[in-house]
Symmetry: C2
Subunit: 385 residues, 2 copies
Amino acid sequence: MPLKSLLMIPGPTPVPEDVLRACARPMINHRGPEYMELQRELIAGLKQAFQTSGDVQIFPAAGTGGLEAAVVNVLSPGDRVVAVPTGAFGRRFAEIAEVYGASVHRVEVEWGHAADPGEIAAALRNEPDARALLLTHNETSTGVLHDIQGIAREARRVNPDILILVDGISGMLAADLQTDGWDLDVVIGGSQKAWMIPPGLTFLSVSERAWAAHRQARMPRFYFDFSRMKKSMETDQTPYTPALPQLFGLQVALRRILAEGLPASIRRHARMAAATRAAVQAMGLDLFAQEGAYSNALTAVTAPADFPARTIRGAMREKRGVVIAGGQGPIKEAIFRLGHLGYVDDNDVLAMLASLELTLSELGHPLPAELGAGVAAAQRVFSQP
Amino acid sequence: MPLKSLLMIPGPTPVPEDVLRACARPMINHRGPEYMELQRELIAGLKQAFQTSGDVQIFPAAGTGGLEAAVVNVLSPGDRVVAVPTGAFGRRFAEIAEVYGASVHRVEVEWGHAADPGEIAAALRNEPDARALLLTHNETSTGVLHDIQGIAREARRVNPDILILVDGISGMLAADLQTDGWDLDVVIGGSQKAWMIPPGLTFLSVSERAWAAHRQARMPRFYFDFSRMKKSMETDQTPYTPALPQLFGLQVALRRILAEGLPASIRRHARMAAATRAAVQAMGLDLFAQEGAYSNALTAVTAPADFPARTIRGAMREKRGVVIAGGQGPIKEAIFRLGHLGYVDDNDVLAMLASLELTLSELGHPLPAELGAGVAAAQRVFSQP
């Protein structure tokens, strides 16, 4: 039979059957009572997932649209901004601010490393007029998870009123991200990650501080304008036609997410990540991310010198049906990335790892121990209570 | 049993079963070979539907995002623009240009009327520096279809190099719209209309003239940037994660659309519109749109003085399961709008009209003839070969 596909990339992630079926529900009038009830339920659920009592908005767009929305709604051309480009997505966030006229100071961080809260605080001391700090919770291109709580705390010590905008797209639900508890102003989510629904939606929280900034912010915006969205939401509407399939899916997925609970979701992701790291290292491969900054959502692995990432990925896909991701930007062939977020369980992770070990062996890459020793390392993690 | 729903609004429109099922396909890697093949097929099909040999791009966004993309990609702040706000969507197009810093001259047209090519030409003679003309093919808020061919021809006589940007969202495939044949620079489509797929995608054609303007255009843009999209499309990729469900659906829908053929699709819509107008008038109601400018996609009906639109719509929905639309903006309660576009056939139209006639009768609105005379007028249209 043709190969079954095991999708293990950091998004789009596998979508549960009942969510897929919800995405295929017949269309409804987006100005009618059925839609209004749906939207009320979705916003209430999103607030729980974002850990906020403030506003959350949904835009029909990819996560990149959410990054743009965050920037253009709270800033004005010429505003000083501190960005921390720790990888491809952090770079993108900074570039968006620049395209819209912000004056961006970049705290450079080596790819694979986590940003240091002290260095960010130092940058903020040098930029006393900075209006905003752009952060990436989980950098998808390098597999690095940031201590947003620590960074935000240090940043507020230096500049209590700074706007903290956090790209939470690939990390939220896989690792803790407390919008209100950590005093974050705009947190951006994206549907195709641990939310377990297809791509096409971005979610944004908006703090009181962000609303106050919004009222002064002069970057041009229309499609992504918070005020237009808020005005429509007052009557449970949207300013333009919403992406119904993803919203139908989100309803089912949110019920799943809230039933599991955020702590359990985070524990599940942390365990899968730990098992993946243990196995990969037992196969003699190196983790790309700095120790202590490992992502729960994906694991970035340095490709062995004798095999570019493309060779391993191609063999996994063509012979085993296992789809993993390559690197991005300057490290495209230097790493491959194993996704373990969203609708993924221990069995998916074990199958992926066993397939990776087999692929390395078949490609002639010397394993440090007998075949199976890699998977065994993951099994041991999963055997812990 | 609970009422079946007959969705007869000008978008979202009913989606065929096989398209809905395609929307529920499992996720794939948007950087893998399967996706690349999909995108190639979609772009080739869209070019046929847009009647262009030039570029067509797909963005994950509502149609409003498409309007924004058209404006920000070819204009600079301070550019003079002539807009023709013939209704809510024409107004929106003009407002977007203004938000991004264009200096907009509006050719005012009474709602329900079509823009006059001569008046537009006169406005262009008074604005010799105008860089762009913003037009609406089918104004969804008033049920007016414009003679884009005539307007474009007159406009080019006055200003041969002007950029002609056309909101084709609700009219394309229901009425003719020739991107290359009429020398249009950017035409914008939206998925939830006659394309027969759910909301979430906007499509844009880009002419050579538009590309030349794009290279000079300084309005800020990132998410909707044509150049970034074009660069990714060179390797059959996208600059960020695409909205897979709608793209899977588009593949199936495009095969249906191209199998029917554009002329047959337009004839079908024109017939359903003619039947609807005949029935509505036989029920003693007035059409809102000016004679000779009737839309093929929807029919706007003036609500009788004794019954606001809301009363008729509520009764249709709650007692008959027929979902029709109200008015928008200043004419919210003054009109109701009957959608007949996309995956809709004669039977759907007959059922909607019979239900409307019954509802008027039950509400106590005096019909000019016996019950059934309204539907009969539609039947006579459908009985013609």
